[in-house]
């Protein structure tokens, strides 16, 4: 009996277990990427840059995770958790790259500790060594506050990662390639919710107006040029944040236009002796966040997970 007898055997592949419900063909976007440092790129600078990008993602992920069990709808809860997990994945890859570029940044742990370098950087680093912008560490407010913050952050990060795909460091380019696909969805999600809240009821409009006004003082800090970044831009490894402002402005103006809201006029938040998040100067909100995030790992520095 040959296969032509049944029209159905080609459709039903009974030998494999690749039922659609369990997902098929997982692949690692960073498989096969050359991890050696390209020449001309200083390891210490690259590590600092990786920390900047990674800490933005790590702290954002922690704030998004705080919506678990609190989100307004079940589907929003899964959506926010997914966004947080995407960012956590980017943070992990970037922290690992930073540790590979300059192992001296990794906090020292007791002998025999099985903690990998990226975990040590996430859970055993003190606050002055975090390089995230102050936008991501602000405490969560209501849902509108998180949506406004996610809109600003994902627009900024997407603009940066789109350009980072051409980095001379192959791992950064690969992480950027993966990140662009994730951030496209994050930005879309935030923009849709922004417009929905603005055009919904009087209550939701009041809240989204208040949210974007409270977020706005921390926007300018995202685009301040940074010496570490400038040095890496000169060797083609990084993206100059100040060049992202025009794309950011055009996207945010589109969203505000669709929402019928004016551009916020709040002044930028003050710097501390000319320094802010990228230099390790943070708001007190970060210290509470890190205390909660790091307490379990710090209690068991030799623990296996």
């Amino acid at each position: 009996m040959n296969d032509h007898d049944s029209a159905y055997t080609e459709l039903v592949d009974a030998d494999t277990h690749d039922q659609w419900a369990f997902g098929t063909s997982f692949d690692d976007p960073l498989a096969g990427v050359d991890t050696t440092l390209a020449d001309g790129i200083d390891g210490a600078d690259l590590a600092m840059y990786c920390l900047m990008l990674a800490d933005d993602a790590l702290i954002s992920a922690q704030r998004l995770a705080q919506w678990c069990t609190n989100a307004p709808e079940l589907e929003e809860e899964v959506a926010l958790a997914n966004i947080g997990l995407d960012l956590l994945g980017q943070a992990r890859l970037l922290l690992a790259r930073g540790a590979a570029a300059d192992p001296t940044i990794v906090p020292t742990l007791p002998d025999g500790s099985p903690v990998p370098a990226e975990d040590a950087l996430a859970f055993f680093r003190d606050e002055p060594f975090f390089r995230c912008v102050r936008l991501v560490e602000l405490a969560n407010g209501d849902f509108a506050h998180s949506i406004a913050r996610l809109l600003v952050f994902s627009t900024y990060r997407l603009a940066g990662l789109e350009r980072l795909r051409e980095s001379r460091d192959p791992v950064l380019a690969a992480v950027a390639g993966k990140g662009v696909k994730e951030l496209t969805y994050h930005r879309d999600y935030a923009a849709r919710w922004f417009v929905t809240l603005a055009n919904g009821t009087g209550e939701s409009r009041r809240r989204i107006e208040r949210a974007i006004a409270s977020i706005w003082p921390f926007v300018d800090e995202l685009f301040v040029p940074n010496p570490v970044e400038q040095r890496l831009v000169a060797v083609g490894a990084a993206v100059d944040s100040s060049t992202l402002r025009s794309e950011f402005d055009s996207v945010v103006e589109q969203v505000l236009g669709a929402s019928g809201l004016p551009l916020p006029t709040e002044r930028a938040a003050a710097l501390v002796a000319g320094k802010s998040g990228r230099d390790g100067i943070h708001t007190e909100a970060l210290s509470y966040l890190l205390a909660e995030m790091q307490s379990v790992a710090r209690a068991h520095p030799c623990g296996k997970w």
Partner: protein
């Protein structure tokens, strides 16, 4: 008239307070300016097509305010494990289903008609493709 609690303790404000009175229950979306606002999002059924499949398969249901949001929710909830490459969402009220009471008249008569199945017939050897 919808009344919202102006200072809800939960800090969310996305859902009206418990003592809301509604003019009429309608499944129209809240984003449509002319439609009345309801406290419940309508239900949607979600269908996902796997990479190796030809057809969309029903995977579950979810709530959303309108069909574009339903598509985003389906992407968030039903594609987490790399399940597929295409998603359909349909409002549950648009699905017309057979009822269990009609099971016998609907499905039993085909049970003994084996000649309707293509493998019932022997293909002659000199017919190459069938």
């Amino acid at each position: 008239m919808i009344h919202f609690d102006t200072d809800p303790g939960d800090g969310l404000g996305a859902v009206p307070a418990a003592d809301t009175t509604i003019d009429s229950v309608d499944t129209a979306t809240a984003c449509d300016g002319a439609a009345p606002i309801t406290p419940e999002w309508p239900l949607y059924e979600v269908f996902v097509r796997g990479k190796r499949g030809l057809n969309h398969v029903h995977v579950g249901s979810l709530h959303a305010a309108d069909s574009r949001m339903a598509l985003r929710h389906a992407r968030d909830v039903y594609t987490r494990r790399n399940e597929g490459i295409s998603v359909w969402v349909v409002r549950s009220v648009d699905i017309v289903a057979s009822s269990p009471a009609e099971k016998d008249p609907f499905f039993a008569p085909s049970g003994d008609k084996v000649y309707r199945h293509p493998t019932f017939y022997a293909i002659p050897d000199n017919v190459p493709h069938m």
